[in-house]
Every structure is written in C-alpha cells, then in structure tokens.
Symmetry: C2
Subunit: 213 residues, 2 copies
DNA sequence: CGTACTTTTGAATCGCATCAAATCTGGTGG
DNA sequence: CCACCAGATTTGATGCGATTCAAAAGTACG
C-alpha cells in the first residue's frame, strides 16, 4: 500500500509521510478507531509508531492519586514519538472522535533511522521543528488575554502576520487554550478595532494605525 | 576547556553536556552575558549553537505589526536547536538576567551529528524527550485553574506524584503560567485541604481521602 | 428538508491578575 | 556578631476578563 486513498486534511502528517522512506511506508497499515476506542495502554509493549491522519487521540496518564492528566492531544503528526526510545508505553492512548491512523512497525522504523542516514537527519529536523513550534505554543499559552494569544499565533505561525487557518475556529480555540466563545468575541473586538482582517480562514494582522478600508 | 568549573544548577544542561562527544565539547567556549545583552539578532548567520548554563535568554520576534512575541524563554538546555537547520537566525536572542552559556561551533556540531552515529541517535532521543515534555507542558497550560496545573505537573513530571522542584517557586509559577501569588495561594489551599504535602522543594500529592498525618 | 456542527450573542459568575505591603530568608560586608 | 540588602514567600483588597450556561442563527451535507 504505497498509495493512500485519503483526502488529506492534515498538512503536517502529509509532510511527514513524504519524508518517510518508501520501503518503510510500504510496511504501514491503516488503523480506524471509533470514538472512545483505545489505541494502546500503559505497560503494553511498543510495537508500532502511529501517525495521525484524521481525528484526535489523547495520551492520558492515570496517576495513583486518582487524577488523570492529558499528556498530548494529537490531531497531527505522530502520537508518541518518544515511544521509539522505550520498550513499553507509559500512558494510555484513546481516541476522542472517530480517527484514522497509520501504524509503522517500530523495529523497521528504528532500523530505518539507523541505516538510512538521510532519513535520520530528516527525522532530526522534524523533531527540531516540533520543538520550536511547541516552545512557541507554550509561550503563547502563558499570555493572559485572548487577543495577545491570537496576535502571538499570527506572528509566530504566520508569514508577515498572515495565516490561513488549517483548522476550524473551534479547534483553534482549543489550541489557544480558550473557549470558542472567548475566541469569537476576541476576533470580533479585533476586527471592530481595525487591527485584524478576517476572511474565512484567512487572518491578517493590520499594523496599528492603518484601518483596512 | 574540557572541564567546566561551574557549580551546576542546571540538571538538563548537565545531562546534555554529558551526551556530547568529548571532541565536540572541547571546541565549546563559555559566554557570559549581562542582563539585557544580545546573543544574536534575526538575520545573522548561524555560527554557534548555545547551551544554557545559568540565567535566562529569550528568543523574540519583532513582527512588522509592531508587536513583539516571545518564542522561547530558555533557562535550560539549548537556546534554539532549530538553528541547526538554517543558515541564519529568525529571531533575536536577549538575556533577561546575567547568564552563562556554552557556544558550540555549528559546523562541528553538524558534522558530529552526521559522523558520530551514536551521537546522532542520542540527539534524536534528546529531541524526542523534549517534544514529549513540551507537549505535556502545553496540555498543562491549557488547564484553567492553578490547582489543576499543579496536579498535572506533579503527575507528569514527578514519580508517583512526588517532585523535588529543580527551581524556585517563583520560576515554577512562571513555567505554570501563573503569578507567584496565585501559585502560593493554590499551594496553601491544597496543603490545607490535605491533598498536598510540601516540604521545602519537595512536593507530594496525597491521594484523596488520606490526610498527611 | 433535516441533522450535525460551527458561528454568534447574551448574562452571570468565578478565579486569576494586579497592586500593595509585610515577613522571612540567605548571603555580604562592616 | 550584627546591620543590611536582595530576593523569596506570604497575605489582603479590588477589578477585569475568561468561563460557564443558554440559546439563536448560519452552514454544509446527505
């Protein structure tokens, strides 16, 4: 199965997939999860590495204090690339909505990283990019107001303050750590204030002092 | 200078340093920054990779909208590992307090990654660990209440709900995206409520229903 | 046409940020 | 040893902005 019959919603996963050597890609198999289904459980042997194609999977750790904490909500990219380094999972993975993933055998993945030095370096770049992006996201989430987070997103993820959102605004609100109501209200304020132009999924930051008309 | 006369405050950087091949380590040079000094500017050629030893450096992008956004506040680990993949920096780096860093020549670093396959794999593990930790931090910052963030930290960074804080509580508050007042108050509430034991830098989550006596 | 989901607006509440200030701490120098 | 200082820790009062709950209107899709 070297060809995927999937209408990609998912830019990052698509880019990753192209970076994967075709020999390895051939070994992948598609996995469909219904909402609430479990992908793997803590303690289980790591047998596959998973790439998100559609939907959402959460990594959850259940502490003995009875509380459960979410370690990752994956909609994009790999679910738990750190599992490459360990022999068993350290948390549960559960889908929150119907999801589609690609599973790569972990052994083949590891040896591809070692033997195919080009892939190894590419993998390093992917991880480094991830790190940079996640760092920026953390800084964004530390900001107190909705407007600050929006501006930060446009400045750090966009080009010259322009972004075409790769997701619905509801999902974006969730990424920004806001309720959708708060996001919509902030967008309206910024539009009314004249420092943001919104056209569907396209958002543009207008430098202060220049209204859009 | 293969020996560093530094009293390490800095666990992560120390671990990283040990992972670096001694040949590369030898080429490092120490850099001291006063508060407010600039380490590099956007557009400058990437000549070094920097490891934080002490202090804090911020990566800042100045958008043409006049706003400036912080992309990373580094106190630990590398300042901008993504610079490994590009020829020039995409943001400014400025120290906020007096800081000490180690600078590695980027060329030597890149070739070490390619030629020393052990180092290459180690680098991948380090990055993967970073990714995991940053993902958890993002999930933590999405939580609305101070208590939830504290519990999340203890569950995800600690072992069995026990953590010995590797930093002051003020710095922790900043990592948690809280003011120090909010953090102190939440800690007090949790202590009083009996589900958290605090002893200096040691924090332990007490399973609900069992007070600490 | 109907269903599911997104987008939008409203009102009330709550928790955190903010500003202010006091206490405590460790370390320095006289 | 003590005075002193910088930084950390702690407590209080106030206001604001996001959350929450509720509901309506718009939109895509079968």
């Amino acid at each position: 199965m070297s060809k995927l019959d999937l209408p990609f919603q998912n830019g990052r996963s698509e880019a990753i997939l192209q970076a994967i050597p075709s020999g390895l890609r051939t070994l992948s198999r598609r996995i469909d999860l219904k909402a609430g289904e479990t992908l793997f459980r803590a303690g289980a042997r790591v047998q596959s590495i998973y790439l998100m194609l559609e939907g959402e999977v959460r990594l959850v750790r259940i502490g003995r204090s009875g509380v459960d904490v979410t370690l990752q909500r994956a909609r994009d990219g790999f679910v738990a690339e750190a599992s490459l380094d360990s022999s068993s999972y350290h948390c549960d993975a559960v889908s929150t909505i119907p999801s589609v993933l690609l599973a790569f055998p972990v052994g083949a993945f590891r040896s591809a990283l070692v033997q195919d030095s080009g892939f190894g370096r590419l993998w390093q770049s992917l991880l480094a990019r991830q790190v940079r992006q996640l760092r920026a996201q953390c800084e964004r989430l530390v900001l107190k107001s909705a407007e600050e987070r929006i501006v930060h997103y446009l400045e750090s993820e966009g080009v010259d303050g322009v972004v075409v959102l790769p997701m619905t605004k509801m999902a974006w609100a969730s990424d920004l750590g806001l309720t959708h109501e708060a996001l919509y209200r902030a967008l309206k304020r910024m539009r009314d204030g004249g420092f943001l132009a919104v056209d569907g999924q396209r958002l543009e930051l207008v430098p202060r002092g220049q209204s859009g008309a």
